[in-house]
Protein backbone atom coordinates (compact mmCIF):
# COMPACT_ATOMS: atom_id res chain seq x y z
CA UNK A 1 0.00 0.00 0.00
CA UNK A 2 2.72 2.49 1.00
CA UNK A 3 4.84 1.38 -1.92
CA UNK A 4 1.92 1.86 -4.23
CA UNK A 5 1.23 5.34 -2.86
CA UNK A 6 4.85 6.41 -3.14
CA UNK A 7 4.96 5.10 -6.70
CA UNK A 8 1.82 6.98 -7.65
CA UNK A 9 3.07 10.19 -6.06
CA UNK A 10 6.38 9.92 -7.91
CA UNK A 11 4.45 9.42 -11.14
CA UNK A 12 2.34 12.47 -10.33
CA UNK A 13 5.37 14.67 -9.73
CA UNK A 14 6.99 13.40 -12.94
CA UNK A 15 3.89 14.27 -14.95
CA UNK A 16 3.80 17.76 -13.49
CA UNK A 17 7.51 18.28 -14.16
CA UNK A 18 7.17 17.10 -17.77
CA UNK A 19 4.18 19.40 -18.20
CA UNK A 20 6.13 22.32 -16.81
CA UNK A 21 8.94 21.62 -19.27
CA UNK A 22 6.43 21.53 -22.14
CA UNK A 23 4.73 24.72 -20.98
CA UNK A 24 8.05 26.48 -20.51
CA UNK A 25 9.61 25.13 -23.70
CA UNK A 26 6.60 26.20 -25.79
CA UNK A 27 8.05 29.71 -25.66
CA UNK A 28 10.95 28.52 -27.79
CA UNK A 29 8.68 26.94 -30.39
CA UNK A 30 7.51 30.42 -31.31
CA UNK A 31 8.76 31.66 -34.64
CA UNK A 32 11.40 34.35 -34.17
CA UNK A 33 13.10 35.11 -30.88
CA UNK A 34 11.26 34.95 -27.52
CA UNK A 35 11.48 38.69 -26.86
CA UNK A 36 9.66 39.75 -30.00
CA UNK A 37 7.09 37.00 -29.34
CA UNK A 38 6.52 38.17 -25.77
CA UNK A 39 6.34 41.82 -26.87
CA UNK A 40 3.76 40.91 -29.49
CA UNK A 41 3.37 44.18 -31.28
CA UNK A 42 4.01 46.44 -28.34
CA UNK A 43 6.80 48.96 -28.97
CA UNK A 44 10.24 47.44 -28.43
CA UNK A 45 11.53 50.19 -26.17
CA UNK A 46 14.86 49.34 -24.51
CA UNK A 47 13.12 49.38 -21.14
CA UNK A 48 10.41 46.95 -22.22
CA UNK A 49 12.98 44.60 -23.76
CA UNK A 50 15.19 44.81 -20.69
CA UNK A 51 12.33 44.13 -18.30
CA UNK A 52 11.20 41.12 -20.36
CA UNK A 53 14.75 39.76 -20.50
CA UNK A 54 14.99 40.15 -16.74
CA UNK A 55 11.54 38.68 -16.05
CA UNK A 56 12.16 35.58 -18.17
CA UNK A 57 15.86 35.43 -17.24
CA UNK A 58 16.64 35.35 -20.95
CA UNK A 59 20.31 36.14 -20.41
CA UNK A 60 20.83 32.91 -18.46
CA UNK A 61 21.52 29.52 -20.04
CA UNK A 62 18.34 27.60 -20.87
CA UNK A 63 18.31 25.14 -17.91
CA UNK A 64 18.88 28.01 -15.48
CA UNK A 65 16.05 29.97 -17.11
CA UNK A 66 13.75 27.00 -16.62
CA UNK A 67 14.73 26.44 -12.99
CA UNK A 68 14.31 30.12 -12.14
CA UNK A 69 10.91 30.16 -13.84
CA UNK A 70 9.88 26.96 -12.06
CA UNK A 71 11.04 28.37 -8.73
CA UNK A 72 8.83 31.40 -9.28
CA UNK A 73 5.86 29.22 -10.25
CA UNK A 74 6.26 27.12 -7.12
CA UNK A 75 6.06 30.32 -5.10
CA UNK A 76 2.92 31.39 -6.93
CA UNK A 77 4.74 33.86 -9.20
CA UNK A 78 3.42 33.28 -12.70
CA UNK A 79 4.64 36.59 -14.08
CA UNK A 80 2.63 39.57 -15.28
CA UNK A 81 -0.28 39.65 -17.68
CA UNK A 82 0.52 41.79 -20.70
CA UNK A 83 -3.12 42.60 -21.50
CA UNK A 84 -4.39 43.37 -17.99
CA UNK A 85 -1.17 44.85 -16.52
CA UNK A 86 -1.67 42.77 -13.42
CA UNK A 87 0.01 39.85 -11.66
CA UNK A 88 -1.12 36.58 -13.23
CA UNK A 89 -1.71 34.98 -9.83
CA UNK A 90 -4.10 37.76 -8.79
CA UNK A 91 -5.85 37.65 -12.15
CA UNK A 92 -6.38 33.90 -11.83
CA UNK A 93 -7.59 34.33 -8.28
CA UNK A 94 -10.25 36.80 -9.42
CA UNK A 95 -11.49 34.50 -12.21
CA UNK A 96 -11.38 31.24 -10.26
CA UNK A 97 -14.70 31.60 -8.35
CA UNK A 98 -16.71 31.92 -11.58
CA UNK A 99 -15.25 28.71 -12.98
CA UNK A 100 -15.56 26.91 -9.65
CA UNK A 101 -19.27 27.79 -9.39
CA UNK A 102 -19.90 26.69 -12.99
CA UNK A 103 -18.02 23.40 -12.60
CA UNK A 104 -19.72 22.72 -9.25
CA UNK A 105 -23.17 23.41 -10.71
CA UNK A 106 -22.42 21.19 -13.70
CA UNK A 107 -21.04 18.42 -11.48
CA UNK A 108 -24.29 18.36 -9.49
CA UNK A 109 -26.28 18.17 -12.73
CA UNK A 110 -24.07 15.36 -14.04
CA UNK A 111 -24.51 13.39 -10.83
CA UNK A 112 -28.28 13.86 -10.61
CA UNK A 113 -29.11 13.39 -14.31
CA UNK A 114 -26.57 10.64 -14.88
CA UNK A 115 -27.49 8.54 -11.86
CA UNK A 116 -31.23 9.01 -12.24
CA UNK A 117 -31.14 8.25 -15.96
CA UNK A 118 -28.93 5.18 -15.54
CA UNK A 119 -30.89 3.72 -12.62
CA UNK A 120 -34.26 4.29 -14.30
CA UNK A 121 -33.07 2.76 -17.56
CA UNK A 122 -31.73 -0.32 -15.78
CA UNK A 123 -34.88 -0.86 -13.70
CA UNK A 124 -37.47 -0.16 -16.40
CA UNK A 125 -36.59 -2.09 -19.55
CA UNK A 126 -38.72 -1.24 -22.56
CA UNK A 127 -39.66 2.21 -23.86
CA UNK A 128 -38.05 4.14 -20.98
CA UNK A 129 -34.78 2.26 -21.34
CA UNK A 130 -34.79 2.87 -25.08
CA UNK A 131 -35.57 6.56 -24.56
CA UNK A 132 -32.64 6.91 -22.16
CA UNK A 133 -30.36 5.06 -24.59
CA UNK A 134 -31.33 7.33 -27.48
CA UNK A 135 -31.11 10.44 -25.30
CA UNK A 136 -27.68 9.59 -23.94
CA UNK A 137 -26.54 8.59 -27.42
CA UNK A 138 -27.40 12.03 -28.74
CA UNK A 139 -25.99 13.75 -25.64
CA UNK A 140 -22.62 12.03 -25.86
CA UNK A 141 -22.27 12.75 -29.58
CA UNK A 142 -23.10 16.44 -29.18
CA UNK A 143 -20.14 18.70 -28.46
CA UNK A 144 -20.68 21.23 -25.67
CA UNK A 145 -20.63 24.26 -27.99
CA UNK A 146 -23.42 22.75 -30.05
CA UNK A 147 -25.42 22.08 -26.87
CA UNK A 148 -24.72 25.67 -25.90
CA UNK A 149 -26.19 27.22 -29.03
CA UNK A 150 -29.15 24.81 -29.00
CA UNK A 151 -29.95 25.75 -25.39
CA UNK A 152 -29.62 29.47 -26.12
CA UNK A 153 -31.88 29.32 -29.17
CA UNK A 154 -34.56 27.38 -27.30
CA UNK A 155 -34.55 28.58 -23.69
CA UNK A 156 -33.17 32.07 -24.07
CA UNK A 157 -34.33 33.40 -27.46
CA UNK A 158 -37.54 31.40 -28.06
CA UNK A 159 -38.87 30.92 -24.53
CA UNK A 160 -37.00 33.66 -22.67
CA UNK A 161 -36.69 31.57 -19.49
CA UNK A 162 -32.98 32.19 -19.02
CA UNK A 163 -30.67 35.08 -19.91
CA UNK A 164 -28.51 34.73 -23.02
CA UNK A 165 -24.72 35.01 -23.19
CA UNK A 166 -23.09 37.89 -21.38
CA UNK A 167 -24.79 40.26 -18.95
CA UNK A 168 -23.92 40.83 -15.33
CA UNK A 169 -25.46 39.26 -12.28
CA UNK A 170 -25.55 39.99 -8.58
CA UNK A 171 -26.31 37.70 -5.66
CA UNK A 172 -25.98 33.93 -5.66
CA UNK A 173 -29.52 33.24 -6.89
CA UNK A 174 -29.11 35.53 -9.88
CA UNK A 175 -25.67 34.11 -10.65
CA UNK A 176 -27.04 30.57 -10.59
CA UNK A 177 -29.86 31.69 -12.89
CA UNK A 178 -27.27 33.06 -15.31
CA UNK A 179 -25.19 29.91 -15.02
CA UNK A 180 -28.04 27.45 -15.59
CA UNK A 181 -27.73 27.20 -19.37
CA UNK A 182 -23.89 27.10 -19.31
CA UNK A 183 -23.99 24.41 -16.62
CA UNK A 184 -26.40 22.29 -18.68
CA UNK A 185 -24.27 22.77 -21.81
CA UNK A 186 -21.24 21.60 -19.86
CA UNK A 187 -23.06 18.78 -18.07
CA UNK A 188 -25.14 17.03 -20.75
CA UNK A 189 -22.34 15.14 -22.51
CA UNK A 190 -20.91 13.91 -19.23
CA UNK A 191 -24.34 13.11 -17.80
CA UNK A 192 -24.99 10.95 -20.87
CA UNK A 193 -21.75 9.04 -20.29
CA UNK A 194 -22.47 8.60 -16.59
CA UNK A 195 -26.00 7.37 -17.27
CA UNK A 196 -24.58 4.70 -19.59
CA UNK A 197 -21.98 3.59 -17.10
CA UNK A 198 -24.58 3.52 -14.29
CA UNK A 199 -27.02 1.58 -16.45
CA UNK A 200 -24.57 -1.13 -17.43
CA UNK A 201 -23.15 -1.41 -13.90
CA UNK A 202 -26.72 -1.80 -12.56
CA UNK A 203 -27.59 -4.39 -15.20
CA UNK A 204 -24.43 -6.35 -14.35
CA UNK A 205 -25.43 -6.44 -10.70
CA UNK A 206 -29.10 -7.21 -11.39
CA UNK A 207 -28.07 -10.41 -13.14
CA UNK A 208 -25.98 -11.64 -10.22
CA UNK A 209 -26.91 -14.57 -8.00
CA UNK A 210 -26.83 -12.65 -4.74
CA UNK A 211 -29.63 -10.46 -6.05
CA UNK A 212 -31.71 -13.54 -6.87
CA UNK A 213 -31.02 -14.90 -3.39
CA UNK A 214 -32.07 -11.64 -1.75
CA UNK A 215 -35.30 -11.65 -3.71
CA UNK A 216 -35.93 -15.31 -2.88
CA UNK A 217 -35.46 -14.50 0.79
CA UNK A 218 -38.38 -12.11 0.40
CA UNK A 219 -36.42 -8.87 0.73
CA UNK A 220 -38.54 -5.98 -0.55
CA UNK A 221 -37.66 -4.95 -4.12
CA UNK A 222 -36.85 -1.37 -3.05
CA UNK A 223 -34.40 -2.66 -0.54
CA UNK A 224 -32.90 -5.13 -3.00
CA UNK A 225 -32.27 -2.32 -5.45
CA UNK A 226 -30.88 0.05 -2.89
CA UNK A 227 -28.74 -2.26 -0.79
CA UNK A 228 -27.78 -5.06 -3.11
CA UNK A 229 -27.72 -3.54 -6.59
CA UNK A 230 -27.01 0.18 -6.32
CA UNK A 231 -24.48 -0.23 -3.52
CA UNK A 232 -22.46 -2.69 -5.57
CA UNK A 233 -22.82 -0.75 -8.80
CA UNK A 234 -21.47 2.40 -7.18
CA UNK A 235 -17.77 1.50 -7.55
CA UNK A 236 -17.41 1.97 -11.30
CA UNK A 237 -19.86 4.86 -11.19
CA UNK A 238 -17.71 6.78 -8.70
CA UNK A 239 -14.54 6.07 -10.66
CA UNK A 240 -15.99 7.31 -13.93
CA UNK A 241 -17.79 10.19 -12.24
CA UNK A 242 -14.60 11.44 -10.63
CA UNK A 243 -12.76 11.27 -13.91
CA UNK A 244 -15.51 13.36 -15.44
CA UNK A 245 -14.89 16.10 -12.91
CA UNK A 246 -11.40 16.34 -14.37
CA UNK A 247 -12.90 16.43 -17.87
CA UNK A 248 -15.33 19.18 -16.86
CA UNK A 249 -12.40 21.39 -15.88
CA UNK A 250 -11.00 21.15 -19.39
CA UNK A 251 -14.30 21.70 -21.21
CA UNK A 252 -15.07 24.93 -19.36
CA UNK A 253 -13.01 27.02 -21.79
CA UNK A 254 -15.47 26.19 -24.58
CA UNK A 255 -18.65 26.73 -22.58
CA UNK A 256 -17.40 29.89 -20.86
CA UNK A 257 -16.51 31.34 -24.24
CA UNK A 258 -19.89 30.42 -25.73
CA UNK A 259 -21.75 32.05 -22.84
CA UNK A 260 -19.33 34.91 -22.06
CA UNK A 261 -18.90 33.64 -18.51
CA UNK A 262 -15.98 35.46 -16.85
CA UNK A 263 -13.93 32.49 -15.66
CA UNK A 264 -10.55 30.82 -16.12
CA UNK A 265 -11.56 29.10 -19.36
CA UNK A 266 -12.65 32.26 -21.11
CA UNK A 267 -9.56 34.00 -19.73
CA UNK A 268 -7.41 31.30 -21.34
CA UNK A 269 -9.09 31.80 -24.72
CA UNK A 270 -8.81 35.60 -24.47
CA UNK A 271 -5.15 35.34 -23.53
CA UNK A 272 -4.35 33.09 -26.48
CA UNK A 273 -6.00 35.60 -28.80
CA UNK A 274 -4.15 38.48 -27.14
CA UNK A 275 -0.86 36.49 -27.09
CA UNK A 276 -0.68 37.05 -23.34
CA UNK A 277 1.70 34.16 -22.87
CA UNK A 278 2.29 34.28 -19.12
CA UNK A 279 -1.45 33.80 -18.51
CA UNK A 280 -1.62 30.93 -21.02
CA UNK A 281 1.31 29.20 -19.32
CA UNK A 282 -0.21 29.58 -15.87
CA UNK A 283 -3.70 28.35 -16.76
CA UNK A 284 -2.37 25.42 -18.81
CA UNK A 285 -0.13 24.32 -15.96
CA UNK A 286 -2.85 24.71 -13.34
CA UNK A 287 -5.40 22.84 -15.49
CA UNK A 288 -3.08 19.88 -16.00
CA UNK A 289 -2.26 19.89 -12.27
CA UNK A 290 -5.97 19.91 -11.37
CA UNK A 291 -6.69 17.21 -13.96
CA UNK A 292 -3.95 14.92 -12.63
CA UNK A 293 -4.74 15.57 -8.97
CA UNK A 294 -8.45 14.86 -9.39
CA UNK A 295 -7.66 11.58 -11.15
CA UNK A 296 -5.23 10.68 -8.38
CA UNK A 297 -7.80 11.48 -5.69
CA UNK A 298 -10.42 9.34 -7.45
CA UNK A 299 -8.03 6.38 -7.58
CA UNK A 300 -7.44 6.76 -3.85
CA UNK A 301 -11.10 7.23 -2.92
CA UNK A 302 -12.66 4.55 -5.13
CA UNK A 303 -11.69 1.65 -2.80
CA UNK A 304 -13.48 3.42 0.07
CA UNK A 305 -16.72 3.28 -1.88
CA UNK A 306 -16.09 -0.20 -3.21
CA UNK A 307 -13.52 -2.18 -1.19
CA UNK A 308 -13.30 -4.72 -4.03
CA UNK A 309 -11.32 -2.13 -5.99
CA UNK A 310 -8.37 -2.60 -3.68
CA UNK A 311 -5.26 -0.71 -4.66
CA UNK A 312 -3.35 -3.93 -5.12
CA UNK A 313 -5.60 -4.75 -8.05
CA UNK A 314 -3.87 -2.01 -10.04
CA UNK A 315 -2.30 -3.09 -13.28
CA UNK A 316 -3.55 -6.65 -13.00
CA UNK A 317 -5.85 -6.18 -15.97
Amino acid sequence: MTRYLVGRLLGLVTVLLVTSVVVFGALYLAPGDPVSFLLHGRPATPEAVASLRARYHLDDPLPVQYLKWLGGVLHGDFGRSAQFHQDVAGLIGSRLPGTALLVGYAAVLVAVLGLAGGVLAALRPGPLDRAVLIGTGVATATPSFVTAIALVSLFSVRLGWFPGPGGTSSGLGDRLHHLTLPAFALALTFAGLLARVTRSAMLDELGREHVEVARARGVAERSVVRRHVLRNALGPVVTVGGTMLAGLLISTSIVETAFDVPGLGSLLVQSVTAKDFAVVQAITLLSVAAFVLVNFAVDLLAPLVDPRLSLHGEGSS
Binding site: G11, T14, V18, T19, V22, V23, L29, A30, P31, R130, L133, G137, T140, A141, S144, F145, V146, I149, A150, V152, S153, V157, G164, P165, L193, R196, V197, S200, A201, L203, D204, G235, P236, T239, V240, T243, A246, G247, I250, I254, T257, A258, V269, S271, V272, T273, F277, T284, V288, F291, V292, N295, V298, D299, A302, L309, G313, E314, G315, S317
Partner: protein
Protein backbone atom coordinates in the same frame (compact mmCIF):
# COMPACT_ATOMS: atom_id res chain seq x y z
CA UNK B 1 -13.14 -5.31 -28.02
CA UNK B 2 -13.42 -5.12 -24.25
CA UNK B 3 -12.07 -1.58 -24.38
CA UNK B 4 -15.40 -0.08 -25.29
CA UNK B 5 -17.48 -1.83 -22.65
CA UNK B 6 -18.07 0.79 -20.00
CA UNK B 7 -18.88 -1.67 -17.25
CA UNK B 8 -15.57 -3.43 -17.58
CA UNK B 9 -13.43 -0.32 -17.70
CA UNK B 10 -13.21 1.14 -14.20
CA UNK B 11 -12.66 -2.00 -12.16
CA UNK B 12 -9.76 -3.01 -14.33
CA UNK B 13 -7.51 -0.03 -14.14
CA UNK B 14 -8.20 3.14 -12.22
CA UNK B 15 -9.80 6.44 -13.01
CA UNK B 16 -7.56 7.71 -15.77
CA UNK B 17 -8.17 4.47 -17.58
CA UNK B 18 -11.91 4.98 -17.65
CA UNK B 19 -11.65 8.32 -19.42
CA UNK B 20 -9.00 7.13 -21.79
CA UNK B 21 -11.34 4.43 -23.03
CA UNK B 22 -14.05 6.95 -23.70
CA UNK B 23 -17.12 4.79 -23.36
CA UNK B 24 -18.85 7.40 -25.55
CA UNK B 25 -21.09 5.99 -28.17
CA UNK B 26 -20.71 2.55 -26.64
CA UNK B 27 -24.11 1.01 -26.63
CA UNK B 28 -25.76 2.71 -29.56
CA UNK B 29 -25.52 -0.56 -31.43
CA UNK B 30 -28.01 -2.06 -29.00
CA UNK B 31 -30.67 -0.03 -30.76
CA UNK B 32 -30.42 -2.20 -33.82
CA UNK B 33 -27.32 -3.40 -35.48
CA UNK B 34 -28.21 -3.71 -39.14
CA UNK B 35 -30.14 -0.69 -40.39
CA UNK B 36 -28.33 1.85 -38.21
CA UNK B 37 -24.95 0.62 -39.37
CA UNK B 38 -26.01 0.73 -43.01
CA UNK B 39 -27.51 4.19 -42.62
CA UNK B 40 -24.31 5.43 -40.97
CA UNK B 41 -22.15 4.06 -43.74
CA UNK B 42 -24.45 5.83 -46.21
CA UNK B 43 -24.15 9.11 -44.29
CA UNK B 44 -20.36 8.86 -44.34
CA UNK B 45 -20.29 7.98 -48.04
CA UNK B 46 -22.45 11.02 -48.82
CA UNK B 47 -20.18 13.20 -46.66
CA UNK B 48 -17.07 12.07 -48.50
CA UNK B 49 -18.73 12.56 -51.88
CA UNK B 50 -19.95 16.02 -50.93
CA UNK B 51 -16.46 16.97 -49.74
CA UNK B 52 -14.86 15.70 -52.94
CA UNK B 53 -17.40 17.27 -55.28
CA UNK B 54 -18.01 20.45 -53.28
CA UNK B 55 -17.36 22.95 -56.10
CA UNK B 56 -19.75 21.08 -58.39
CA UNK B 57 -22.51 20.63 -55.82
CA UNK B 58 -22.55 24.03 -54.12
CA UNK B 59 -25.23 26.24 -55.70
CA UNK B 60 -23.33 29.45 -54.85
CA UNK B 61 -19.80 30.63 -54.18
CA UNK B 62 -19.45 29.93 -50.42
CA UNK B 63 -17.58 33.19 -49.84
CA UNK B 64 -19.76 35.47 -51.99
CA UNK B 65 -20.92 38.26 -49.67
CA UNK B 66 -24.25 39.95 -50.38
CA UNK B 67 -25.11 42.31 -47.55
CA UNK B 68 -28.51 43.09 -49.08
CA UNK B 69 -29.51 39.43 -48.60
CA UNK B 70 -28.51 39.07 -44.93
CA UNK B 71 -30.32 36.33 -42.92
CA UNK B 72 -33.01 35.69 -45.51
CA UNK B 73 -34.22 32.42 -44.02
CA UNK B 74 -35.15 29.44 -46.17
CA UNK B 75 -36.31 30.25 -49.67
CA UNK B 76 -36.31 28.79 -53.15
CA UNK B 77 -33.11 30.64 -53.99
CA UNK B 78 -31.30 29.75 -50.77
CA UNK B 79 -32.50 26.38 -49.49
CA UNK B 80 -31.03 26.90 -46.01
CA UNK B 81 -31.10 30.68 -46.13
CA UNK B 82 -28.14 33.03 -45.80
CA UNK B 83 -25.89 34.09 -42.94
CA UNK B 84 -25.34 37.63 -41.69
CA UNK B 85 -23.04 38.52 -44.56
CA UNK B 86 -25.60 37.14 -47.02
CA UNK B 87 -23.53 34.09 -47.88
CA UNK B 88 -25.46 30.96 -48.91
CA UNK B 89 -25.49 28.59 -45.91
CA UNK B 90 -25.95 25.40 -47.94
CA UNK B 91 -22.92 26.21 -50.08
CA UNK B 92 -20.86 26.95 -46.99
CA UNK B 93 -21.96 23.65 -45.41
CA UNK B 94 -20.95 21.76 -48.54
CA UNK B 95 -17.53 23.41 -48.66
CA UNK B 96 -17.22 23.04 -44.88
CA UNK B 97 -17.29 19.26 -45.31
CA UNK B 98 -13.81 19.57 -46.86
CA UNK B 99 -12.02 21.14 -43.88
CA UNK B 100 -14.31 19.15 -41.60
CA UNK B 101 -13.02 15.84 -42.96
CA UNK B 102 -9.46 16.81 -43.92
CA UNK B 103 -8.44 17.81 -40.38
CA UNK B 104 -9.54 14.58 -38.68
CA UNK B 105 -8.10 12.58 -41.59
CA UNK B 106 -4.65 14.05 -40.93
CA UNK B 107 -5.00 13.65 -37.16
CA UNK B 108 -6.19 10.05 -37.32
CA UNK B 109 -3.76 9.12 -40.10
CA UNK B 110 -0.68 10.42 -38.31
CA UNK B 111 -1.70 9.24 -34.83
CA UNK B 112 -2.63 5.76 -36.06
CA UNK B 113 0.65 5.44 -37.94
CA UNK B 114 2.74 6.61 -34.98
CA UNK B 115 0.67 4.67 -32.47
CA UNK B 116 0.93 1.46 -34.49
CA UNK B 117 4.69 1.85 -34.75
CA UNK B 118 5.14 2.53 -31.02
CA UNK B 119 2.63 -0.14 -30.00
CA UNK B 120 4.24 -2.80 -32.19
CA UNK B 121 7.75 -1.99 -30.98
CA UNK B 122 6.55 -2.15 -27.37
CA UNK B 123 4.64 -5.39 -27.77
CA UNK B 124 7.23 -7.14 -29.92
CA UNK B 125 10.38 -6.10 -28.09
CA UNK B 126 8.98 -6.21 -24.56
CA UNK B 127 11.42 -5.53 -21.74
CA UNK B 128 12.78 -2.05 -21.12
CA UNK B 129 11.62 -0.67 -24.48
CA UNK B 130 8.06 -1.67 -23.66
CA UNK B 131 8.27 -0.27 -20.12
CA UNK B 132 9.69 3.01 -21.38
CA UNK B 133 7.08 3.40 -24.13
CA UNK B 134 4.22 2.54 -21.78
CA UNK B 135 5.41 5.09 -19.25
CA UNK B 136 5.76 7.75 -21.93
CA UNK B 137 2.22 7.06 -23.15
CA UNK B 138 0.80 7.20 -19.61
CA UNK B 139 2.47 10.56 -19.30
CA UNK B 140 1.01 11.82 -22.55
CA UNK B 141 -2.50 10.94 -21.35
CA UNK B 142 -2.12 13.41 -18.50
CA UNK B 143 -2.05 16.42 -20.84
CA UNK B 144 -5.52 16.78 -22.38
CA UNK B 145 -5.45 17.26 -26.15
CA UNK B 146 -7.54 20.40 -26.10
CA UNK B 147 -5.10 22.12 -23.72
CA UNK B 148 -2.11 21.04 -25.77
CA UNK B 149 -3.76 22.47 -28.88
CA UNK B 150 -4.55 25.77 -27.15
CA UNK B 151 -0.95 26.03 -25.90
CA UNK B 152 0.41 25.38 -29.38
CA UNK B 153 -1.99 27.90 -30.94
CA UNK B 154 -0.83 30.48 -28.40
CA UNK B 155 2.71 30.01 -29.67
CA UNK B 156 2.36 29.32 -33.38
CA UNK B 157 -0.86 31.21 -34.10
CA UNK B 158 -4.34 30.22 -35.28
CA UNK B 159 -5.00 28.06 -38.32
CA UNK B 160 -5.24 24.38 -39.18
CA UNK B 161 -1.58 23.56 -38.45
CA UNK B 162 -1.29 23.89 -34.69
CA UNK B 163 -4.58 22.12 -33.81
CA UNK B 164 -3.88 19.25 -36.21
CA UNK B 165 -0.35 18.71 -34.87
CA UNK B 166 -1.47 18.93 -31.25
CA UNK B 167 -4.39 16.55 -31.78
CA UNK B 168 -2.21 14.06 -33.68
CA UNK B 169 0.17 14.03 -30.70
CA UNK B 170 -2.71 13.73 -28.24
CA UNK B 171 -4.36 10.83 -30.09
CA UNK B 172 -1.15 8.84 -30.58
CA UNK B 173 -1.17 7.24 -27.11
CA UNK B 174 -4.76 6.05 -27.63
CA UNK B 175 -3.72 4.22 -30.78
CA UNK B 176 -0.42 3.07 -29.25
CA UNK B 177 -2.14 1.57 -26.22
CA UNK B 178 -4.70 -0.28 -28.33
CA UNK B 179 -2.09 -1.68 -30.72
CA UNK B 180 0.21 -2.73 -27.89
CA UNK B 181 -2.62 -4.59 -26.18
CA UNK B 182 -3.89 -6.55 -29.14
CA UNK B 183 -0.38 -7.15 -30.54
CA UNK B 184 0.66 -8.74 -27.24
CA UNK B 185 -2.35 -11.06 -27.34
CA UNK B 186 -1.68 -11.92 -30.96
CA UNK B 187 2.02 -12.52 -30.35
CA UNK B 188 1.19 -15.26 -27.84
CA UNK B 189 -0.66 -17.27 -30.50
CA UNK B 190 0.88 -20.49 -31.85
CA UNK B 191 1.09 -19.36 -35.48
CA UNK B 192 3.65 -16.69 -34.58
CA UNK B 193 5.86 -19.31 -32.98
CA UNK B 194 5.37 -21.51 -36.03
CA UNK B 195 6.79 -18.83 -38.34
CA UNK B 196 9.71 -18.25 -35.99
CA UNK B 197 10.49 -21.96 -35.96
CA UNK B 198 10.52 -21.92 -39.76
CA UNK B 199 13.31 -19.38 -39.56
CA UNK B 200 11.42 -16.16 -40.36
CA UNK B 201 13.06 -13.11 -38.87
CA UNK B 202 11.23 -11.43 -35.98
CA UNK B 203 10.29 -8.23 -37.78
CA UNK B 204 9.11 -10.04 -40.89
CA UNK B 205 6.68 -12.06 -38.81
CA UNK B 206 5.60 -8.94 -36.94
CA UNK B 207 4.99 -6.74 -39.97
CA UNK B 208 3.96 -9.28 -42.61
CA UNK B 209 1.93 -11.73 -40.49
CA UNK B 210 0.91 -10.14 -37.19
CA UNK B 211 0.10 -6.63 -38.40
CA UNK B 212 -2.41 -7.72 -41.09
CA UNK B 213 -4.26 -9.75 -38.46
CA UNK B 214 -4.73 -6.84 -36.07
CA UNK B 215 -5.24 -4.21 -38.79
CA UNK B 216 -9.06 -4.51 -38.83
CA UNK B 217 -9.26 -3.73 -35.11
CA UNK B 218 -6.96 -0.75 -35.56
CA UNK B 219 -9.15 0.45 -38.43
CA UNK B 220 -12.32 0.15 -36.35
CA UNK B 221 -10.75 2.19 -33.56
CA UNK B 222 -9.58 4.78 -36.10
CA UNK B 223 -13.15 5.21 -37.32
CA UNK B 224 -14.27 6.02 -33.78
CA UNK B 225 -11.32 8.35 -33.23
CA UNK B 226 -12.21 10.12 -36.48
CA UNK B 227 -15.50 11.27 -34.93
CA UNK B 228 -13.81 12.45 -31.74
CA UNK B 229 -11.10 14.28 -33.69
CA UNK B 230 -13.77 15.95 -35.82
CA UNK B 231 -15.49 17.11 -32.63
CA UNK B 232 -12.24 18.39 -31.05
CA UNK B 233 -11.12 20.25 -34.18
CA UNK B 234 -14.59 21.78 -34.59
CA UNK B 235 -14.39 22.97 -30.98
CA UNK B 236 -11.07 24.66 -31.72
CA UNK B 237 -12.51 26.31 -34.83
CA UNK B 238 -15.45 27.44 -32.72
CA UNK B 239 -13.01 29.09 -30.30
CA UNK B 240 -11.48 30.88 -33.29
CA UNK B 241 -8.22 28.92 -33.16
CA UNK B 242 -8.75 26.54 -36.06
CA UNK B 243 -9.80 27.18 -39.63
CA UNK B 244 -9.82 30.93 -40.13
CA UNK B 245 -12.66 32.97 -41.63
CA UNK B 246 -13.74 33.53 -44.32
CA UNK B 247 -13.00 29.85 -45.14
CA UNK B 248 -16.18 27.83 -44.70
CA UNK B 249 -15.86 25.49 -41.72
CA UNK B 250 -18.60 24.02 -39.54
CA UNK B 251 -17.05 25.01 -36.20
CA UNK B 252 -16.26 28.53 -37.39
CA UNK B 253 -19.77 28.85 -38.89
CA UNK B 254 -21.30 28.10 -35.48
CA UNK B 255 -19.10 30.77 -33.94
CA UNK B 256 -20.19 33.31 -36.56
CA UNK B 257 -23.83 32.23 -36.26
CA UNK B 258 -24.02 32.92 -32.53
CA UNK B 259 -24.96 36.55 -32.91
CA UNK B 260 -27.65 35.69 -35.47
CA UNK B 261 -29.36 33.53 -32.84
CA UNK B 262 -29.97 36.61 -30.74
CA UNK B 263 -31.80 38.08 -33.74
CA UNK B 264 -33.98 34.97 -33.96
CA UNK B 265 -32.19 33.37 -36.94
CA UNK B 266 -31.31 29.84 -35.85
CA UNK B 267 -30.20 28.27 -39.14
CA UNK B 268 -26.72 29.84 -39.51
CA UNK B 269 -25.60 28.08 -36.32
CA UNK B 270 -27.98 25.11 -36.15
CA UNK B 271 -27.27 23.83 -39.68
CA UNK B 272 -23.51 23.29 -39.14
CA UNK B 273 -24.27 21.94 -35.63
CA UNK B 274 -26.49 19.28 -37.16
CA UNK B 275 -23.76 18.34 -39.62
CA UNK B 276 -21.21 17.89 -36.82
CA UNK B 277 -23.51 15.76 -34.67
CA UNK B 278 -24.57 13.66 -37.66
CA UNK B 279 -20.96 13.01 -38.66
CA UNK B 280 -19.86 12.18 -35.12
CA UNK B 281 -22.76 9.77 -34.57
CA UNK B 282 -22.15 8.09 -37.94
CA UNK B 283 -18.43 7.60 -37.29
CA UNK B 284 -19.21 6.24 -33.83
CA UNK B 285 -21.75 3.72 -35.06
CA UNK B 286 -19.54 2.57 -37.93
CA UNK B 287 -16.53 2.18 -35.61
CA UNK B 288 -18.61 0.31 -33.01
CA UNK B 289 -20.20 -1.87 -35.67
CA UNK B 290 -16.84 -2.79 -37.21
CA UNK B 291 -15.32 -3.63 -33.82
CA UNK B 292 -18.40 -5.69 -33.04
CA UNK B 293 -18.16 -7.64 -36.28
CA UNK B 294 -14.48 -8.36 -35.72
CA UNK B 295 -15.00 -9.65 -32.19
CA UNK B 296 -17.92 -11.86 -33.28
CA UNK B 297 -15.90 -13.27 -36.16
CA UNK B 298 -13.07 -14.17 -33.80
CA UNK B 299 -15.33 -15.91 -31.33
Amino acid sequence: MTGTTPSAAPAAGGAADALRRRPGLGRLRELGRGPLFTASVAVLAVLVLVALLAPLLAPYDPDAVDLSASLTGTSGGHLLGTDQSGRDILSRLIHGARTGLLGPLLVVGVSTLLGTLLGLVGAWRGGWADALLSRAMDMAFAIPGLLLAILLVAVVGSGMTAPVIAMAVAYTPYAGRLVRGIARQEKARPYIEAYRVQGWSGWTVCVRRLLPNIAPTIFAQSAMNFGYALMDLAALSFLGFGVQPPTADWGAMINEGQSAIQQGAMLPALAPSTCIVLAVVAFGIVGEGLADRISRRER
